[in-house]
């Protein structure tokens, strides 16, 4: 197999300041193969991708494009444009780097053509829309081409970015965690497309932390650890466990969850309606309990989370927290009442880019960390250090800029922020976005270990994540809760039917 | 010729010019006059420029005191901000003269270019050219001291000649001033096409009005009267069929020279008098054409009263214009 490599990376190095991130990475990509790259958060996957795609300058090593009809040629893109022109197309990890929010879908789908040098000078909206439609159709995208990107959900934005990359007829396609904000239906569409590209001989590098993706797609698995390749697995059947162990440098073992019961209710939700025409939601969360709510994208999980946190107002219904009526007017009131939310989409709604790790962690708790309005930095720093330790955030110090962290570690900082103080009701909306397997289990374990004294509510699209973490799993569909399961003896079939909004829903 | 002490030793005297306004031709010419006379006298001149910051200008007087100058010329500024600063200089034993700002101090000679006279000369010419009743446009921005003084004369004239009908008053100091005033004047002319006389007692205003009059094609129907003069004003007045009929002006360079001379007199123990007035000259389009005056040098050469004022001119005083 190794002889039909179309893209070859040899001894690639990269340092930021005096921290070495890539210590000589060598990797081959083969035509018509999906190579999955696995690695813990901060292993250097995105950095590698950014070098290949011309965003970062490499610190050493070589890259080569190899083809049947031409001699191997040095591949040294100075800009993303050069990489694209050479046929190496990338969908980056940060979705907002993939689309331009103020422009419409059609322009976004054809963005690279507009900036290509061969493109016609004139911008003909009709023609652009036709081209965009062709691009969208290939992906089976059903988005209004005139809609502005800023009005779309994250999943739709991601699909737009992927569709554009696909349309290039690339030689090498790189996808950096493309499914982290997609629903399984959309992910399935993506996989079907990747299958087609594979048949057409495209070399695909696929980065993901989701085992289900990896199992579905991989022809080869390459593990990466601390900036070097730590294992290549291409003998069928693929040794996934070995790959995970190689990427972590140790074995992980999965403790079965012992589902707990709780007697003391912390939050009672009574007849809450979060959307026009939706059925009311009834819900009780107990002390020490970890509850996961799952459901497809767009069923109202975020809406419910935001309602509980005071960002939105319910249309009707009441809530009782700690035996007292709870109707937060603002996020500030919610926090004061002990209700915390780890919001989804960290780049938009979590990370303060100008702040370092420490300042990001302390953000909601300034009041508790200050006297007469003056911040006590020693307390702030101590809290940050504790969280970095607890969650194993990979960084130099608590003073690091957020932009210097890998995606998964940024996500950990977001969780750390809200774990740094005791909550009564702890809500996490897609907290595992971009977090590697072992870190995910660590976080889940931390959540469970610290669960006493509060109720914990998790919103996840991935069922696996719910199964690994929760005592109880609720299913949402059409802006309301349609099913409830104890995580002990789950009827998976019934649960999946509820998720899909099947017969049970109509029976309800 | 022997100069009295302290001017007998070249370079022994240090004086400061403390300016409020500096941007523009008038101020540049004034400065060149100051420099020329200072050079002729052999004194060391420091220029402190507050760039229209009245508070800073007051501080600069103190700074000049700290620099150990013997004399200070205060050029423009606000009475309120300069009065005390000037007094502090006097208290420090420094001789002070003030140009175009009243510092209300009997010990400080006031150099003036007499704005009232400037306006009067121009308006008298307007009466002479156009009779006693006409429809006028007037360019004025309140709050600027010399313009306020020129305005007083205009108000007096309107009282005196009932036939003067002020159809429109406008003006702006948005820069470039001529361009902004041209826009306004165009509007005024569209609204009042029967205006006969434009009184624009500041040459930047007059330039703007002239542009508007030309653009509207009214240059043969309207006459412009103004104050102040510069090389480009001369060119504008000399254009064929120019509407700009006359201007009254003092030579800013001469005013600069007079300022230094008055200060020198004080330093030499002489008294230049409390009000040192540099008389204005009326300059008409006809003068410029008849005498073939093309620029400020020609003007000085051919209108001697413009080139030199025998003000503050004791016998020992060197004349910087003497070649």
């Amino acid at each position: 197999m190794g002889n039909d490599a179309v893209f070859r990376v040899d001894g690639l190095r990269k340092s930021f300041g005096h921290i070495e991130v890539l210590g000589g990475v060598s990797l081959d990509l083969h035509a018509g193969e999906v190579t999955v790259l696995m690695g813990a958060n901060g292993a250097g996957k995105s950095t590698l991708v950014k070098i290949i795609s011309g965003v970062y300058e490499r610190g050493g090593g070589t890259m080569q494009l190899v083809g049947q009809d031409f001699a191997p040629q040095e591949f040294l893109p100075n800009t993303p444009a050069e990489a694209i022109r050479a046929g190496v197309v990338t969908v980056h990890q940060n979705i907002n780097d993939g689309v331009v929010a103020d422009l419409d879908v059609a322009t976004n789908l054809t963005l690279d053509r507009l900036s290509g040098s061969g493109a016609p000078t004139l911008f003909n909206p009709g023609r652009v829309r036709r081209e965009a439609k062709a691009v969208a159709d290939r992906m089976g995208l059903a988005i209004d081409l005139k809609a502005r990107i800023s009005d779309l959900s994250l999943a739709d934005r991601q699909m737009v970015a992927i569709a554009r990359a696909m349309a290039h007829q690339p030689k090498v396609l790189i996808l950096d965690e493309p499914t982290s904000s997609l629903s399984s239906a959309e992910a399935d569409r993506l996989f079907a497309l990747l299958d087609r590209l594979r048949e057409h001989g495209v070399a695909i590098l696929y980065i993901s932390h989701r085992m289900s993706d990896i199992r579905r797609l991989a022809d080869r698995v390459v593990s990466m650890r601390d900036g070097v390749i730590s294992g290549v697995f291409d003998r069928k059947p693929l040794d996934y466990e070995g790959a995970v162990n190689a990427m972590l440098g140790r074995k992980i073992h999965l403790d079965r969850i012992v589902a707990r019961n709780s007697a003391k209710p912390v939050l009672t939700v009574d007849g809450l309606r979060i959307a026009e025409g939706a059925k009311p939601i009834f819900l009780t969360l107990g002390d020490g309990e970890v509850v996961a709510i799952t459901g497809l994208v767009g069923v109202g999980k975020t809406a419910l989370a935001e309602t509980l946190f005071g960002v939105r107002k319910p249309l009707s219904g009441t809530m009782v927290l700690n035996g007292k009526p709870y109707a937060p007017e603002s996020t500030g009131e919610a926090i004061a009442a002990g209700v915390f939310l780890v919001a989804k989409d960290r780049a938009d709604s979590g990370i303060v880019g100008d702040f370092n790790i420490q300042e990001n962690i302390s953000l909601p708790f300034h009041k508790r960390m200050s006297r007469l309005g003056v911040l006590k930095r020693r307390i702030e720093r101590a809290a940050a250090r504790r969280q970095i330790q607890e969650l194993g955030i990979v960084c130099r110090s608590e003073k690091d800029e957020m932009s210097a962290l890998s995606g998964g570690n940024q996500q950990k900082v977001m969780v750390a922020r809200w774990m740094s103080q005791a909550a009564r009701l702890f809500i996490l909306d897609e907290p595992f976005q971009g977090v590697d397997i072992s870190a995910r289990r660590d976080i889940a374990a931390k959540l469970r270990a610290s669960a006493n004294g509060r109720a914990t509510l998790l919103f996840v699209t991935e069922l696996d994540e719910a199964l690994e973490t929760a005592d109880r799993i609720l299913v949402m569909s059409e802006q309301t809760i349609v099913g409830e399961h104890r995580n002990a003896d789950i009827d998976l079939e019934r649960l999946l039917a509820e998720v899909a909004g099947g017969p049970l829903h109509s029976a309800a | 010729q022997d100069k009295p002490a302290p001017f007998d030793k070249p370079g022994a005297v240090k004086i400061a010019l403390v300016r409020y306004l500096s941007t523009g031709d008038f101020f540049q010419a004034y400065l060149s006059g100051v420099e020329a006379q200072a050079k002729a006298l052999g004194v060391d001149l420091r220029v402190l420029d507050s760039r229209q910051d009245a508070a800073l200008q007051a501080d600069m007087v103190d700074q000049a005191i700290a620099l150990g100058v013997q004399g200070i010329i205060i050029q423009h500024g606000l009475t309120e901000s300069m009065k005390e600063a000037a007094q502090r200089a006097i208290d420090a034993g420094i001789k002070v003269v003030a140009f175009d700002v009243n510092v209300e101090n009997p010990k400080i000679p006031q150099i003036e270019q007499s704005d009232r006279d400037l306006a009067r000369l121009a308006l008298e010419q307007a009466i002479k050219d156009n009779g006693e009743s006409w429809k006028a446009g007037y360019v004025y921005v309140a709050g600027i001291a010399p313009l306020d003084r020129r305005n007083e004369t205009w108000v007096d004239f309107k009282k005196k000649y009932a036939g003067i009908n002020e159809a429109a008053m406008f003006g702006t100091l948005d820069n470039p001033i001529a361009n902004s005033v041209a826009n306004q004047a165009r509007s005024v002319l569209s609204a009042n096409p029967d205006i006969k006389v434009m009184f624009a007692p500041y040459d930047e205003f007059a330039k703007g009005v002239k542009i508007a009059v030309d653009e509207a094609g009214f240059n043969k129907d309207i006459k412009i009267y103004s104050a102040d003069i510069s090389t480009s004003d001369i060119a504008a007045m000399r254009e064929p069929d120019s509407a700009w009929a006359a201007t009254a002006a003092t030579n800013p360079a001469v005013v600069g020279q007079v300022s230094v001379r008055a200060l020198a007199q004080l330093l030499a123990g002489e008294d230049p008098g409390h009000n040192v007035i540099v008389p204005p000259t009326l300059i008409t389009q006809k003068d410029l054409i008849d005498k073939d005056i093309k620029n400020m040098e020609d003007l000085s050469a051919k209108l001697p009263q413009f080139a030199h004022a025998d003000v503050a001119m004791p016998a020992w005083m060197p004349n910087p214009n003497a070649k």
């Binding site: 422009l103 507009l114 000078t121 004139l122 | 165009r186 005024v188 569209s190 504008a236």
Partner: protein
């Protein structure tokens, strides 16, 4: 949703799209009644003429707004170009073509430097162009030591500058084209209209223009999609600089001399026009058509008020009030708006 609600939303959409245009025509109607002689071809031409220079500057600054930048140096570029034109013709005794070329080169050079500072030296836009503004305000005065430039002027070294403004150059400020009525439309208005159409077409209907919007909205995404983001940004500043220098040429041609002025008011008026443009047709973003309408709007307002004898300070006041009200209207209703 009830159809009443839909109708209301549609009405609101209309209010956003056409509110400003309606306001403009309302204003014209009001002045037509209140001020004699406001309605005439000459008056219309004059309104365009009075905003030609700021309008050209505003179109240039629109380009920098589109890429998410800002150019505070345009006023000083215009006055520098004016001084340069006068210097070239009067002191160096060159002809009109040389003067125009010199101005355009200055504009392009300043734009390049601004762009280089912002793109490669990563100096924030406001900062870089503010520094450039101070620098140019000083620089343009150094050759003549702060004197205005006019034929016959005395140079610092005592010599007399005898060059003259070429007739061709002055024609840029004074010639009028026939248009139904003889001698109706001045060159400056033609320049404004041509540049407005050009930049509008460029921004809306060429891929370069589209990419500039993309760069302004999300630089990183545009770069990752393969756009030469740095080049686009630099180009925007070059456009801005060149347009400002064209404004300076028109200014020199109108004044017939090189006048000492800071250009601050040109800057503010141009920025006002470009920002008012956000409100036109509910764009809520920089756009060339809006900028042109914004410039005309200010022109109409000032022309009308001046004709009604309103003193200059009430004009500023009303300009401010109208600006604020018009914009509240657009942005509050549209619910978008973010720079």
């Amino acid at each position: 949703m009830s159809s009443g609600w839909v109708r209301m939303a549609a009405a609101r959409d209309h209010a956003i799209r056409y509110g400003f245009i309606v306001l403009l025509f309302g204003l014209i109607g009001y002045f037509a009644i209140a001020a004699d002689g406001f309605v005439s071809p000459q008056s219309a031409v004059f309104i365009f003429q009075s905003v030609a220079i700021t309008g050209v500057l505003a179109l240039g600054v629109t380009a920098t707004l589109v890429v998410g930048g800002f150019d505070l140096s345009i006023g000083s570029v215009a006055t520098s170009a004016m001084m340069a034109a006068a210097y070239v013709m009067v002191v160096l005794e060159q002809n009109a073509v040389v003067a125009v070329v010199a101005c355009l080169l200055i504009g392009a050079a300043v734009g390049l430097i601004n762009g280089w500072l912002i793109v490669y030296m990563r100096v924030p836009d406001l900062l870089a162009t503010l520094g450039m503004m101070f620098l140019l305000v000083g620089l343009q005065r150094i050759p003549t030591e702060g004197r205005s430039i006019a034929t016959g002027m005395t140079m610092p070294d005592g010599s007399v500058a005898n060059g003259t403004f070429g007739a061709g150059f002055l024609a840029l400020g004074r010639h009028r084209f026939d248009f139904f009525i003889p001698n109706l439309i001045p060159v400056s208005v033609v320049v404004l209209l041509v540049l407005a159409v050009l930049i509008w077409f460029f921004l809306e209907y060429t891929r370069f223009g589209r990419m500039m919007y993309a760069v302004g909205s999300n630089e990183r995404a545009a770069e990752l999609a393969g756009a030469p983001v740095k080049a686009y940004k630099i180009w925007a500043y070059v456009i801005s600089g060149v347009f400002a220098s064209i404004g300076g040429i028109l200014l020199a041609a109108r004044l017939g001399r090189g006048d000492i002025a800071s250009g601050n008011n040109l800057l503010l008026d141009a920025v006002a026009a470009a920002l008012i443009g956000y409100a036109v047709l509910g764009a809520a973003k920089p756009n060339a058509f809006g900028t042109a309408v914004g410039a005309v709007f200010v022109g109409v307002l000032l022309q009308g008020l001046t004709m009604m004898n309103a003193p200059y300070y009430t004009q500023d006041f009303i300009k401010g009030v109208v600006l604020v009200v018009a914009l509240v209207f657009t942005f509050a209703l549209s619910g978008r708006g973010k720079r």
